[in-house]
């Protein structure tokens, strides 16, 4: 029981300490300032947003996909990740505009 508390406490502390790193960092060379990034974020592509909300939960975005490959990928993920029909259409436009 003691060990349980210690491990749980450690986990919480770790998550909190990691979260503390999540402060805005200085922009890397070539990056726009934070304000510009924020304004861009407000106009985020709905397909990109759906991609991040659904696909990005388990894996990184694909390197490059042709429109013909995207259809197979999306049908696969529609079943596997239980995407809605709207998710599928928006992500399709995002990955293969």
């Amino acid at each position: 029981m003691k060990l349980t508390l210690i491990t749980l406490l450690s986990m919480v502390l770790l998550i909190c300490s990691l979260g503390a790193f999540a402060v805005p960092q200085s922009p890397a060379p070539g990056q726009k300032p934070a304000k510009a990034v924020t304004s861009k974020a407000q106009k985020v592509d709905p397909g990109e947003q759906r991609f991040k909300q659904n696909c990005g939960r388990c894996h990184n975005p694909p390197d490059s996909l042709s429109p013909r490959e995207v259809k197979a990928v999306l049908q696969h993920m529609r079943v596997r990740a239980m995407l809605t029909a709207e998710d599928e259409q928006l992500i399709l436009k995002y990955l293969a505009p």
Partner: protein, 376 residues
């Protein structure tokens, strides 16, 4: 085969496969084997014929990963080269055939930590399924599919996705036999609201003892509530295992991925007559957002705690015979988009003996069209 059983607790993500091979076959039936193989061949034939017919519009893709895993569990070194190919073939707008195999070697020392190295080869079919996307709320699946219990098996067990190479201790609860089911499944999004979605899955599986295609007789389901704007999901699973005396298995899972910070928190709880337990994992990319543009943002720190409480496990449960507490810490580094390095250390506390668990893995993820010209 007993050596496989002995090794199954140290065989990282390959546990279900090797364990499946080691499982005693109680009801060997030549006719059943024949029927299963014939059904498999028919499905593959249908896939090829259908894919060729749709070749002009839908290109099948070949995806998956190559990996090499080295581990040391309590002083016993093991090495596993792994190939996990995934084939996806859309057949028009409503049908898709998808399949994943798992081919791996398992190299170990004859007496655990002494003696010459031995190797065994294991191949299994994780899934080969035909999906019919009936409407936005219903998909019907037949064939062999990953057992949808909680979320680890379906979403995180792939070698290129899992953060820590050792499967959770409670992984075999709800996925007993081979982590795959042979039968039928319905799934989909029951309610699609802009702020939340309710998903469901229900399935039945038949007992199959054919080598590499094992499955248990079971029925079950899962429901999940997803809040996309908060990146939060919670769900519950239930399974009735309809053999070995019939018993109930239940579980819950939780995922939280706040959009503002690159933190992933995942947890599962599972209960069966053989035992119960939970795991809680946090993974954090060393960046202020989820992009991977800087080298530091490609580093991911991971920590996991888990506890297992013994019930009345049988050998088929593949659960520890004593209570276990364990923590793991690890690092992932994405060398390029498709290559990932993992390293982890874990410490296991049990009345059966404490152990240090080290692992290292390199994984190459691939995806290309199944025939030439598809990438254009």
């Amino acid at each position: 085969m007993p050596v496989v059983c002995e090794m199954s607790h140290v065989c990282e993500r390959g546990t279900p496969t090797l364990a499946g091979l080691a499982k005693p076959i109680d009801h060997i039936s030549t006719e059943e084997d024949y029927e299963m193989k014939r059904a498999g061949l028919a499905l593959i034939g249908m896939l090829l014929a259908g894919s060729a017919a749709c070749a002009q519009s839908d290109v099948p893709i070949l995806s998956g990963a190559l990996a090499f895993l080295g581990a040391n569990n309590g002083g016993s070194p093991t090495y596993q080269p792994i190939i996990a190919p995934v084939l996806v073939a859309p057949l028009g707008d409503h049908f898709v055939v998808e399949s994943r195999a798992d081919v791996q070697g398992f190299i170990f020392r004859e007496n655990g930590n002494t003696g010459p190295y031995n190797g065994i080869f294991a191949a299994s079919l994780d899934y080969l399924q035909l999906d019919y996307i009936a409407n936005p709320h219903l998909t019907v699946t037949v064939g062999r599919f990953l057992t949808p219990f909680n979320m680890y098996n379906e979403r995180l067990s792939a070698v290129w996705i899992t953060n820590l190479q050792q499967a959770p201790i409670i992984f075999t609860i709800g996925t007993r036999t081979s982590a795959s089911s042979n039968g039928a499944m319905v799934r989909g999004v029951a309610i699609d609201h802009p702020n939340w979605t309710l998903t469901y899955t229900a399935y039945v599986s038949a007992l199959t003892t054919t080598e590499n295609l094992q499955a248990g007789r079971a029925a079950g389901g899962r429901a999940g509530l997803f809040l996309p704007h908060q990146g939060f999901e919670v769900g519950a699973s239930y399974q009735r295992f309809l053999q070995s005396g019939d018993f109930n298995v239940s579980g819950m899972y939780l995922v939280w991925e706040p959009p503002q910070i690159p933190l992933d928190v995942r947890a599962e709880y599972a209960h069966s007559p053989g035992g119960q337990g939970y795991w809680l994992e946090g993974a954090y990319r060393l960046a202020s957002s989820r992009d991977t543009t800087t080298w530091l943002s490609r580093v991911q720190a991971i920590a996991r705690v888990q506890q297992y409480f013994k019930g009345n496990p049988t050998p088929e449960d593949l659960l520890p015979s004593a209570d276990v507490n364990q923590f793991d810490v690890g690092l992932n580094y994405y060398l390029t988009h498709n290559i990932r390095l993992n390293g982890s250390y874990g410490r296991q506390y049990s009345s059966a003996g404490n152990a240090n668990i080290w692992s290292f893995q390199i994984t190459y993820r691939f995806l290309f069209p199944a025939w030439p010209g598809g990438h254009q």
